[in-house]
């Protein structure tokens, strides 16, 4: 393998600019959340107790698996194994939908327990962060769609676009890792 000697930026460098910018925006959301959290720790702790850590961990692992599938897809496509790449892209999409479904299930559960968007500050942050992340997941499906579209025809198959879409999808993943820590674990 020549990977060791050849240095390259995966995908369009432009997408990396987006990733870094969007990460900063999310960091500012988290910072605001933490500042307000420290102002009324009991309210946040008691509200947080109504979230299920199990569902959170399940969601995280599903999304990590989806990311893993995309990483496999990129490597397969680079090695010219396009069938395997496609399979992994579909797998990633399917896991993305599992995440989405479990997210909707969790929202429904929390709403049924009587906690809405405007119930209190914690749930405001909870719904805001999960919803804006969910929007990123939906946009991520477009990115995965681009990957699948690229892989389908031999005439297209731009490795750069495949990697660009993958970079976006991993961003969705690591943003969730941070959101998960913020909402479910932080004390």
């Amino acid at each position: 393998m020549t990977d060791k000697s050849m240095k390259f930026v995966p995908g369009q460098p432009d997408m990396w600019a987006f990733v870094l910018f969007e990460t900063l925006v999310f960091t500012s959301y988290f910072a605001v959340y933490l500042i307000f959290r420290t102002a009324s720790p009991q309210l946040y702790l008691q509200s947080q107790a109504h979230l299920s850590l199990r569902i959170g961990i399940f969601n995280t692992i599903v999304l990590l698996a989806s990311s893993w599938a995309v990483a496999r897809c990129v490597q397969a496509s680079r090695d010219g194994r396009f069938a395997s790449a496609s399979t992994n892209a579909y797998l990633a999409t399917a896991l993305g939908f599992v995440f989405l479904g479990s997210k909707i299930f969790e929202w429904a559960k929390v709403i049924r327990s009587g906690f809405g968007f405007s119930t209190n500050e914690f749930f405001m942050h909870y719904y805001f962060l999960t919803a804006i992340h969910c929007l990123h997941v939906l946009i991520g499906f477009v990115a995965l769609g681009v990957i699948i579209y690229q892989l389908r025809s031999p005439a297209r198959r731009s490795q750069e676009l495949v990697e660009t879409g993958a970079t976006y999808w991993h961003t969705v993943d690591f943003l969730w890792v941070l959101i998960f820590a913020m909402l479910y674990v932080v004390r």
Binding site: D14, M15, A17, V25, F36, S118, H125, I132, L135
Partner: protein
């Protein structure tokens, strides 16, 4: 024949407009950063009282100059015309953003002018005008959201290299702020209210960066423009040596 000066006209009008916009909204009328949505009617009436002349003079200036948004929209539409994408993109953007100025800005100017004109109005009504003004201003989202996405899509699929792709992705960041601001319709207090840390301050920083960047990018585009329809050259052509088709009847 100097086509570039037509583009520079649009660019400079845009720059001057944003300067004046900043002066009017941040200095004269003090409507940015926005006052508190949680105030009761008498506090709102007090706010109108305190900013009486600032509001009337400031928005008078806005009524005079809002037309200057047209060259900005025209220039951005032109940037899409220069791309390898269908004309439909530029026209969509032109219509969306021309439309957006009325609910997204002028309505606020009109309603706050009405509020400031009669200090003796019943504070309950004044308070309704206050809500109307600020919610129409921050809560007009779809036109900007879809407009940014149209521009983003055009940049991403363009083959003429009019803008770098990262700028296309930055449009997505700007579009997302229009989603983030939507809870302003629900909350009267806290970080998601119309003056909140997230819904106003963070969004404003993103919008500020976006505006600064798109002005610079448009400037670069005008410098590189060769009035052809192929890929845009990297550096500015010395002369407009390319034969003009539109103006051939002129000389």
């Amino acid at each position: 024949m100097n086509g570039r000066r037509e583009l520079w006209f649009a660019w400079w009008t845009t720059v001057v407009f944003y300067q004046l916009f900043g002066v009017v909204f941040f200095v004269l009328t003090r409507t940015q950063p926005p006052p508190d949505p949680g105030w009761d009617a008498s506090r709102v009436a007090q706010w109108f009282h305190d900013h009486h002349f600032g509001l009337l003079v400031g928005f008078g200036i806005m009524f005079l100059i809002t037309g200057m948004t047209a060259p900005q929209n025209a220039l951005i539409a032109y940037s899409m015309r220069r791309m390898s994408v269908s004309r439909a993109f530029g026209y969509s953007y032109l219509v969306l953003y021309s439309l957006s100025a009325i609910p997204g800005m002028l309505l606020m100017c009109i309603v706050l002018t009405v509020g400031a004109m009669r200090p003796d109005r019943d504070p309950e009504l004044t308070s309704w005008l206050y809500d109307f003004a600020f919610l129409s201003f921050v809560g007009t989202m779809g036109v900007f959201l879809i407009g940014s996405l149209v521009w983003m899509l055009a940049i991403l699929i363009d083959k003429n290299g009019v803008f770098p792709k990262w700028f296309g992705y930055l449009n997505l960041c700007n579009a997302l702020t229009e989603v983030v601001v939507s809870p302003a319709w629900i909350f009267k207090h806290g970080v998601l209210a119309w003056n909140g840390l997230i819904a106003w301050w963070i969004d404003m920083v993103v919008f500020g960066i976006y505006t600064g960047v798109f002005l610079m990018q448009l400037r670069k585009m005008i410098q590189r423009e060769d009035f052809g329809d192929g890929p845009l050259p990297d550096s500015a052509p010395d002369q407009e040596s390319v034969p003009s088709t539109m103006a051939s009847s002129a000389s």
